[in-house]
Symmetry: C3
Subunit: 347 residues, 3 copies
């Protein structure tokens, strides 16, 4: 019997099954430094322990996306090694900040199954939960992937479809314990714009662009212990290119969004996202955002629901979808990522 | 109104104005590790906490250039985003070592202004000061940049030119509290040469060379939160190349200078520097030094004033300037950097 | 007299001579993070402080190869700067885990000399010992290199050949203080295979491959303060390629071996190794292992003696040597590395 991991196939999953994923991972200051070397992030809170303490967070959190990438990476060997496609995610919520010294582990529960009509694959829905060394929940999320069947002759399981929110409600969001933005230092943060300065429907061009390299996206993806072959091996795809991990595009877009959203310091939740097109070394990525919704969270904290869009090449018109007859409703050329998130900023 | 930072133009500056720059930044052991991965540095003091303790520094300092790059990077969005050219810097002085856990912030005071005769731009002189989380000065320096005017019709401001020293005097230099090189371990440091072994006028070929890559210079430049577009974006320059941040060349040359200057452990000051030619991925950089001056600082500490020169391709003749009739006085071909600094070494 | 290091030549070595190598180096959490960014390692023990504590190691060790690369790098300027070839190593033994905060220094004793018959070079045998800041041995090993003579007219020294073990015996191995695998968490580690599941002669295809980049191998090699020019400088070899440090291939193969050997958590010793062919950016490396021997170490700990083979391109047949008439006994095409090591895993 082979000792190497062949991954799970569609028929290996059953609704209610809980999978404890491998490789607990301790977050360190090294992760923060590497994140800052790989992405042009300048948000003051994760950059400065003093700034974090000034808003009530005495332990210095790392960026939420570090926690997400680590937690997500653990699920790959068990959930999506034999995936045909990553179809979507929803209800991603950060329950508490992750700080250096925290050890993250992830488990997943299968919450839905639906075999495809061709009998060769099916969609698996899981709710994944990352906990720290004290057993407290750091973040959780749902995702669904299309997975190959090993044996196409097997009968289909009963179809179970979970109910997933299109977006989390403001009351679903968790405010980190102690967070208080009433003494927020706007000069240190780099921009004067507060909650009231943003309006629903407003679009923000983040202006700056970064050209990807293979060394950088591989280093980022390894840091998260994500093992998908296509990111690392030029022999894994017919075109000989290393596909950039979708999370690398997310982090790059988030970092670029500083320019115009410098005060959207903390990501509270990710409502969903589409990786619209693949990205490769040599592509230059830009980003723009749209304010989708607003909510008052506390006396000092507001939340913006933002659409964060990454594009290959700059699109000053900030067009998400085509309006021409043939392509109406399809994503516009150049769109790489369409992400829907909640972020906190000072009121 | 756009929410993104358009930077300051010449007419936005007034003499005496103080600008508090954004994004305080906590230095960590991750920075030290990345610096060691990006540059071939082997100076024993920043490499070894035990060596540092042995010369009286119980907290383990990071290399001075880490502090400089971080402090400098903060000034870019406010001072030089609309720069035509970075013209020079002077009087850079390290006031105390920076250790992991320190949070650096930078503010700048405008100390001079001179509009160019064409009315389209002007030179802005600033003194920038980086402080730690206790409000103590870590380093300060002057620099001057040529900045575009937004409105070329505006009248010129009164010309104010600051007096800047061509080089700091030995008595201007600050010795880190506790530093005592009397029990210095030359075997651990790697070379036997002490203060008396160096003579004014002596040149040292540092022998080794390193070929630049795009991934590495971008990672370094991001680590310092330097946001200048030309370093990251192949669409920012007509030739499609990413210009290497001048500070990357400085750090590479400093690290290469270990071979012959292994005991010049601490940089005390930078008197000035010229970035003579641009550098790009694929260039192989070498370095040589010239001893410009010497000073006895304490019973155990001496200081060397050094010219540190980086070249594209090795120049065993160590020629700084051309002597041919046509080009007399111009920098020799291949010279990338001409830096003037003070460094401490054991007597 | 030149101040730069010209390295030692064959006639500079005498049997019994002890060389204290330069640049003590403090290991940090930054090293762990960078190692995880540069290699696809997922071993639970170095990944998770909580997992390490669960097997009795309250201080969180870094991977043994981090300690080895750092300790080895220190010997290069004194031992192998003028090497014609690195011929081999033996009896590498880890005496205790290295944890962040430890400062490593290395010294070498010359234990053998043999001039080559051509009189132009000779083989130098050294035993190198790396100690921490408390003077305790962290690891030691022997290696032998062929070194140029400076003066080919000099008489040959007396030939002294050390006795070196082809492989360390199980009783030679040192178990880290406190290590107890009786409560080992196989789910967290990622695979169910324990000591009894492996049989001598068994081969394991580690399946995954990684394509090398120049930026990554240079960053790794610098992190270990290894200064050999050929790794960094495209002008150092006639073909203009940067040769990848052999240790980079070792670490990549070790990380790839997770897939099938996830529970071989700690390397106890390296018995020897051959760098069969050079590796360059663009090569895609795969790995396979063969179980050479087994030994019961304690009630909870077993040891596997493993041949770890790295190949350029995947070899599903896992062939080490050619069997055709012409090449019989030679390494098979594509073999880059043939490493012989002992590793601990749970019984």
């Amino acid at each position: 019997m082979s000792k190497t991991n062949a991954g799970n196939f569609f028929e290996d999953f059953t609704v209610g099954q809980v999978i404890q994923h491998a490789t607990p991972r301790t977050v360190t200051e090294g992760d923060r430094a590497l994140y800052g070397a790989l992405y042009p992030t300048r948000f003051a809170l994760p950059s400065s322990a003093a700034f974090a303490a000034g808003v009530g967070l005495d332990a210095h959190p790392v960026e939420e996306l570090i926690a997400f990438h680590i937690a997500f990476g653990k699920t790959v060997p068990d959930i999506s090694l034999n995936a045909v496609a990553n179809l979507g995610y929803a209800e991603l919520r950060f329950h508490q900040p992750v700080v250096p010294g925290d050890t993250l582990s992830t488990r997943s529960e299968v919450i839905g199954l639906k075999q495809n009509s061709n009998g060769k694959s099916g969609v698996v829905y899981v709710r994944s939960t990352a906990t720290n060394q004290r057993g407290e929940v750091a973040l959780d999320w749902c995702r669904w992937v299309m997975v190959h069947k090993r044996d196409t002759e097997l009968a289909a399981p009963e179809t179970v479809l979970p109910e997933l929110k299109k977006a989390l409600e403001p009351q679903d969001l968790v405010v980190p314990a102690g967070l208080d933005l009433s003494s927020y230092d706007f000069a240190a943060a780099g921009e004067p714009h507060r909650f009231d300065d943003y309006t629903v429907g407003e679009k923000i061009d983040h202006v700056d662009g970064v050209t990807f390299t293979d060394a950088e996206h591989m280093m980022a993806t390894r840091l998260w212990q994500n093992t998908a072959k296509v990111h690392f091996n030029t022999e894994a795809r017919p075109d000989g290119n290393r596909l950039i991990y979708g999370g690398h595009v997310i982090s790059m877009a988030r970092a670029l969004s500083f320019n115009g959203l410098a005060n959207a310091q903390l990501i509270a939740a990710i409502n969903g996202g589409s990786h619209v097109a693949p990205a490769f070394a040599g592509d230059t990525v830009y980003a723009w955002s749209e304010v989708l919704d607003k909510a008052e969270i506390s006396d000092s904290i507001g939340a913006l629901r933002l659409r964060l869009v990454a594009t290959k090449g700059r699109d000053v018109s900030m067009t998400l979808r085509r309006s021409d007859e043939e392509g109406a409703g399809k994503y516009a050329d150049g769109v790489l990522l369409d992400l829907d998130l909640w972020a906190y900023l000072p009121r």
